[in-house]
Amino acid sequence: MSVAALTKKILHAALFYEIWDAMKVTFRHMLHRPMTFQYPREQRTIPDAHRGALGLLRYDDGRERCVGCDLCEVACPSHCIKVISAEDTARPLQRYASEFYIDITKCVFCGYCVEACPVNALAMTKMYEYSTHDKRSLLFDKKRLYDIGERHLDDGKKYLYAHNQEKNVEQSREYRYYFPQSVQKSTQPSPKHLS
């Protein structure tokens, strides 16, 4: 060991150099703003394109958008969606999903189901806080999905906008499918939505 190196070592030892060196980081951080969020007191701003929990949307008049076409089910790569469709007995010929399940524990948040939906009934929201003690409550049923959709309607619409699926309210009407009326008589009345 050379004299210079030895001198340096003694000097460092006498002046507690390592401590000052470490404290340098501490003092520097005292001076600038904290990087961490105090979750859950503080929340991050989430971008519109964020893929969070799925929700089912309604039209402005309160009707369910979903027509029970099962296309989300077939598009889902992790097979976490199950749709059971039926004819609405109150409104003949109206197809709707009588049951709708998403097993969110299996969901990989790819967003394929939203893309597959021909009527933009599914949307991803900014909701991500649904941890629970009971795993069974993570099987979202139709009611839960509509609840999510209702609570996060704006987020859902923003998601669809961000993903180029729906530009505005006008355009959402274009996607809407009008079911034909049922005739019991041979005379043809003109469909209601046309007049």
Binding site: C69, Y177, Q188, P191
Partner: protein
């Protein structure tokens, strides 16, 4: 082939040569160009084409370039001609076809997500194949959906006007229930006259619709094609044995589709002689009983007058205990068994083995006893063959068909389609002889209405007319001069004039029918329920054999005497030996050699000859107390036989009644043990149809609840009774049958059989024939003016179909007597009026409704319903030779109540 084949059994078409895509191709003259191209293996898209009917040429997709023509031609409507030079591929053709798709799509609603045909749609496939992504000038039709029919919905927004539905209905099924109609500016498919569709509801229009314009109400919106598992299996309703695709989603049957489909549009027209692949209303829409809520899912045991649910293990313990007790106390002859012909061959085989080897009794019978046994025993006696000699192809290609006592479009709709094809394509002469105005009579060349119950007399007349007019095949009868002599003297006293008065058939008609039957090269007799299920059925079948014999039709190719069966496996029940007189393979039970063979194969001693009993005898022995325990597998004698048989009293006297059934039947409610069996969708096996073709039944889903396949229950029972059966699956039973009856399965093809009457004619014929032609009609019963008939409806089959909610929706139990409108007018009755029907057996009050198919002087009630109990008005006469009970006809008086 689309165009009617130029080749038929009588004429061979000329051969032509043409060039397709540079290759030289030979073809038959007269077929369409499209068929010739399809024959080479090239597939040109075509949406309005189907091989079962003539090309229509509306879709504009099958375009090809023909040398010498500037524009592409439609290949389907163009006839192939010698020397044509055809190009089927190329950019120009692709673009022309794309334009055609765009034309269809521009007025299509594009509602694929909610359309039932999504994923199974030819227009979708074509749009994808041709890359149609942009549509200029797309417009919507906005036509309301026609939901008036109880079965099919017509959404004409989706229609591409290919007319496949109209063509299949008109050309193949000859029902002609659909038509085009210009409505709201568009050509739409509507039911005839724009009324609510009211047809036979075979659903073949639904099958061939390439888009979702026609949809099925019972499965609407319940599925997407890709979600379902498809199983090919055999229909469980009638003896036709149609193949069907059962589409299931988990434990739920969603719909039934047929091999006839737009997906399956290329074929040879001559192939349809073996069946066009369609289904009838029962097969296609009668699936809802399979996963019905009323299915039994747990064994039931009677405890203190109540049926209580019990676990299998406990039930079997109790049951075996009771059975062993009865067997040790009263002997094996205190046990009897009945089985339904809706079971598979394997189960029927196992049933008779269980009865004979397990319980040691020969008191067993199947539901073939209700009629088919008459044919089997008569045919076996006369020609040594216990089944029909002809298959569907023979029927289609026949020149003359005599249809006697059969409403075939109702009982066996797909066999009826074969006769329709014989009429339409091969120009056959069809003679119908029935007591009702049947649908097939409306198409037949020689329709005759006879007085009900006189079928036997008609045959007498036909035999007499044949001999009188010297239409006898001399060469054939010369082989058995004594037999012919006996027949001649037997019919000597038969007078055509008297028969004409008795049957209502003019004397000339007898002569004409005899002449066309005797003179045609391929003549087939088809006898139905009017022969085999009525009194003297056995004798009447023998008389038909006589008729066929003297005209030289027995044993000749394409000729023969045939019958139709009501249940899917009546033939199998006889072949599997589920009858006291037969071992498997229709070997006689009293034949010592056969007995030794089966005793050795089953490693047991067999019940003695002479101890056997058929259905009626079993019920009689139950009533007399000789039989103490009855094992009923799927049968329901209480709801089938009239009250005069005293079935209830017989069953109530039993110490042990075991019923094994998918549903809790009337008989089941009396039982001490009810074992839940599963339906044909939940098990493997085979059915033998009326042609003798062995058809596979495949498992489509798991047994519902705790129900089990019948073979499984029987194996468990046998093992508990001390047998050592090691069947793990239906395949193991099949292997045993294959060993005992080599060649029975025959790879699902009907075995060619030749009826040989020589044995019978040289031995025993002369002694029997005299009695056959001496029958006088039972007098005394004619004091009442109306003949009440009970029979089958198209929409129903036995009691089983009444569990299918869809079929009940189409044809509910109206509880009304059906009468001819003229009779109703004469009696001053309105539709729905109450009448009192009185027979010698009692009287009953019920409503009345007009029915076009009922002949004057008759009235009809469907046999599927017991509410009101019309069957209890019927007398039962049991055939002396075959033990077949007949209880479908009686004379009644009808008066306003």
């Amino acid at each position: 082939m689309g165009l009617k084949p130029a080749t038929n059994p009588d004429v061979e078409a000329a051969t032509i040569e043409l060039s397709i895509d540079g290759k030289s191709v030979t073809a038959k003259d007269g077929v369409s160009l499209y068929d010739v191209i399809a024959m080479t293996g090239k597939i040109i898209p075509a949406m309005c084409y189907h091989y079962t009917f003539d090309p229509f040429g509306s879709c504009g997709m099958c375009l090809v370039m023909q040398e010498g023509k500037k524009a592409p031609v439609r290949s389907c409507t163009a006839k192939a001609a010698a020397g044509m030079v055809i190009r089927t591929e190329g950019e120009d053709l692709f673009l022309a076809r794309k334009k055609a798709v765009e034309k269809h799509l521009s007025v299509h609603p594009l509602d694929c997500p909610v359309c039932d045909a999504d994923g199974h749609c030819e227009l979708q496939d074509m749009a994808f194949q041709h890359g149609v992504t942009n549509l200029a000038n797309a417009k919507q039709k906005f036509i309301p959906e026609d939901t008036r029919s109880p079965v099919l919905d017509f959404n004409m927004n989706r229609c591409i006007a290919c007319a496949e539905c109209i063509n299949v209905c008109k050309d193949v099924l000859m029902i002609d229930a659909l038509q085009f109609m210009k409505k709201g500016g568009f050509n739409q498919v509507v039911a005839k006259g724009d009324l609510a569709l009211d047809c036979e509801f075979c659903g073949d229009c639904l099958a061939v619709c390439p888009v979702g314009a026609i949809t099925n109400k019972f499965s609407k919106y319940l599925y997407k094609p890709w979600q379902m598992k498809t199983t090919t299996t055999t229909c469980n309703y009638c003896g036709d044995g149609c193949q069907l695709y059962l589409e299931t989603k988990d434990e739920e049957v969603v719909r039934v589709t047929s091999p006839l489909s737009w997906k399956n549009k290329w074929g040879d027209r001559s192939e349809t002689a073996k069946g066009h692949g369609g289904l009838c209303v029962r097969g296609r829409f009668g699936f809802e009983y399979l996963d019905s809520k009323s299915r039994l899912t747990q064994p039931l045991v009677r405890e203190g007058g109540q049926l209580v649910q019990k676990p299998w293990l406990e039930t079997m313990h109790l049951l075996v205990e009771r059975l062993t007790e009865i067997k040790s106390k009263y002997g094996a002859d205190a046990i009897g068994g009945l089985v339904t012909a809706r079971c598979t061959n394997e189960e029927l085989y196992l049933f008779q083995k269980l009865m004979r080897a397990g319980f040691g009794t020969n008191q067993l019978d199947s539901s073939a006893r209700y009629g088919h046994m008459n044919f089997v025993l008569a045919s076996k006696r006369a020609v040594g063959l216990g089944r029909t000699p002809n298959d569907w192809e023979d029927l289609t290609k026949a020149k003359t068909i005599i249809l006697i006592g059969s409403n075939i479009t109702e009982t066996n709709p797909l066999t009826a389609v074969r006769i329709k094809e014989a009429i339409r394509v091969y120009k056959a002469q069809v003679v119908t002889l029935d007591g009702a105005i049947t649908n097939i009579a409306k198409l037949a060349s020689h329709p005759f209405l006879i007085k009900p119950g006189t079928e036997g007399a008609v045959i007498d007349g036909l035999v007499k007319a044949t001999i009188d007019q010297d239409l006898v095949d001399e060469e054939i009868v010369a082989k058995h001069p004594h037999a012919f002599e006996a027949l001649n003297s037997a019919v000597e006293n038969v007078s055509l004039e008297r028969l004409a008065a008795q049957t209502g058939l003019p004397v000339e008609a007898f002569r004409e029918i005899a002449a066309i039957f005797a003179e045609s090269p391929r003549s087939i007799i088809l006898c139905g329920e009017g022969i085999v299920r009525r009194t003297n059925g056995y004798q009447n079948v023998l008389k038909l054999m006589d008729l066929a014999w003297i005209t030289g039709k027995l044993g000749r190719a394409g000729c023969g005497v045939n019958t139709v069966t009501e249940e899917p496996n009546e033939q199998g029940a006889v072949d599997m030996g589920a009858a006291p007189e037969f071992f498997p393979g229709q070997a006689r039970f009293d034949d010592q050699g056969v007995r030794d063979r089966f005793a050795k194969a089953w490693e047991t001693s067999l019940p003695p000859v002479g101890s056997g009993a058929h259905l009626i005898e079993i019920l009689k022995r139950c009533k007399s107390g000789q039989i103490k325990a009855l094992y009923i597998l799927g049968e329901n004698p209480l709801a089938t036989l009239p009250a005069s048989m005293e079935v209830r009293a017989a069953l109530e006297r039993l110490e042990l009644l075991v019923v094994q059934d998918p549903f809790l039947t009337d008989t089941g409610e009396l039982a001490h043990f009810v074992l839940p069996a599963c339906t044909y969708t939940e098990k493997d096996g085979t059915f033998t149809n009326l042609e003798g073709r062995v058809l596979r039944v495949r498992q489509a889903m798991d047994p519902l609840g705790e129900s089990l396949p019948d073979w499984h229950i029987m194996t468990a029972l046998a093992n508990a009774m001390g047998c050592r059966w090691e069947y793990q699956s239906a395949n193991d039973i099949q292997a045993e049958i294959m060993k005992l009856l080599p060649g029975y399965y025959n790879l699902g093809q009907p075995r060619k059989v030749v009826p040989i009457p020589d044995q019978y004619l040289s031995d025993g014929y002369t002694a029997e024939v005299k009695a056959r032609y001496q029958q006088t009609p039972p007098s005394g019963e004619h004091t009442r003016p109306f003949s009440l008939l009970m029979g089958q409806l198209l929409v129903h089959s036995g009691k089983l179909s009444t569990q299918a909610s869809g079929l009940i929706k189409i044809a509910p139990n109206t509880g009304k007597l059906r009468m001819n409108i003229r009779d109703m007018e004469r009696l001053g009755l309105q539709d729905g009026a109450k009448v009192r029907v009185t027979s010698n057996r009692g009287s009953l009050q019920l409503g009345v409704q007009p029915d076009q198919s009922i002949a004057p002087g008759t009235c009809f009630f469907p046999e599927h319903f017991n509410e009101p109990p019309v069957k209890d008005l019927m007398p039962v006469s049991v055939d002396a030779t075959t033990g077949v009970p007949s209880f479908k006809q009686i004379w009644v008086s009808v008066e306003q109540a």
